[in-house]
């Protein structure tokens, strides 16, 4: 059995097949960190400055101890943090979108969301570097 592809907020990682259980994806420490950046710590599921506490009632659905390692159910964790995901069983691909704190309360102020994108030559342009200029932003596509 082949492994799975995890597409996690812009990151693409191949993981082993061991943790695939239908729609659910269980990942051990090393693969969890490599694919999603999350780590299991005593205070909860953590990444950088963010720690999500694990409620006792959900612990068994989220965390499993095996062979001196701990596994996190990444899909169940996504449900807990209101992070959308989509799964393609045929090719074992999971796509994870942003957690609730990144997509809720969009546009609380007038501030235009900042972004950086490349042009044809690969040069990166950042909206906030255009301060002092009016910016006309137009989206188009080939289709």
């Amino acid at each position: 059995m082949n492994g799975a592809t995890v597409l996690y907020q812009g990151r693409e990682t191949e993981v082993g097949p061991a943790g695939i259980e239908g729609d659910e994806l269980w990942l051990a420490k090393r693969e969890l960190a490599a694919s999603s950046g999350w780590e299991l710590k005593p205070e909860g599921v953590c990444k950088d400055e963010t720690c999500v506490p694990v409620p006792e009632a959900r612990r068994s659905a989220l965390i499993r101890d095996a062979n001196s390692d701990s596994l996190l159910n990444l899909t169940e964790f996504a449900r807990m943090i209101e992070q959308p995901f989509a799964h393609d069983e045929n090719n074992a691909v999971w796509y994870f979108g942003p957690p609730a704190w990144e997509w809720k309360d969009r546009l609380a102020s007038r501030q235009a969301p900042d972004f950086s994108l490349p042009d044809l030559s690969g040069q990166i342009h950042t909206l906030s570097e255009l301060r002092g200029n009016k910016v006309f932003l137009l989206f188009w596509a080939s289709w």
Binding site: L7, A86, W103, L107, Q111, L117, P118, L120, L138, W143
Partner: protein, 186 residues
């Protein structure tokens, strides 16, 4: 924004010989950030980074495919000139509430639709056309009014074979809402 990225964009950028930067949003993440549900979609951002207009479905210049006739949208171009001349005092600047109404708060269904759309795109670009279709159809069912999800998906397949419709029929689907809402300069 284009799932085929530079390959899709380059011929247009080269032909247009633009003097302004043309950026490539292959993951369509900025399109999502700005809620661009169709193209074209235009935004005004002032010198301090504040948004003054959002999501205008606007062609400044349009060429009729059959007659070749080029028409200018003078009303909109005059509005842009008015903003350039008058800045924040322009009558065309929208207040925050109106901008928010053009970029409504996201529901879980919006971000779930996006997840299906992005997975569909990944599968399509990796040669899994029929699996991609499943994901695209989920995205379309969740957010039928998002033309970006439809048009990009159609361009990666065949609208008649894969979706059992035509572009003209799809335009009339009441679930989708208007293809281009009327330009509201008020």
């Amino acid at each position: 924004m284009d799932a085929r990225g530079q390959d899709a964009a380059e011929p247009f950028i080269t032909a247009a010989k633009q003097r302004h930067p043309s950026l490539i949003d292959q993951q369509m993440l900025v399109a999502e950030l700005y809620d661009a549900r169709n193209v074209p979609a235009a935004f005004w951002i002032d010198e301090t980074g504040r948004m003054l207009r959002a999501n205008d479905p606007i062609y400044a210049q349009r060429r009729n495919r059959e007659t070749g006739e080029v028409s200018l949208n003078r009303e909109y171009l005059d509005a842009v000139r008015d903003w350039v001349a008058n800045g924040e005092a322009s009558a065309y600047v929208l207040d925050l509430e109106r901008i928010k109404s053009r970029m409504p708060a996201l529901e879980f269904e919006d971000v779930l639709a996006a997840a299906h759309f992005h997975l569909g795109t990944f599968l399509a670009l990796h040669g899994h056309a029929s699996d991609a279709l499943v994901q695209f159809k989920s995205a379309h069912a969740l957010r039928p009014e998002n033309w970006t999800y439809k048009r990009q998906a159609w361009s990666l397949g065949d609208i008649e074979r894969d979706y059992g419709t035509t572009f003209q029929e799809a335009l009339k689907d009441p679930a989708s809402g208007p293809f281009y809402p009327p330009l509201d300069l008020g």
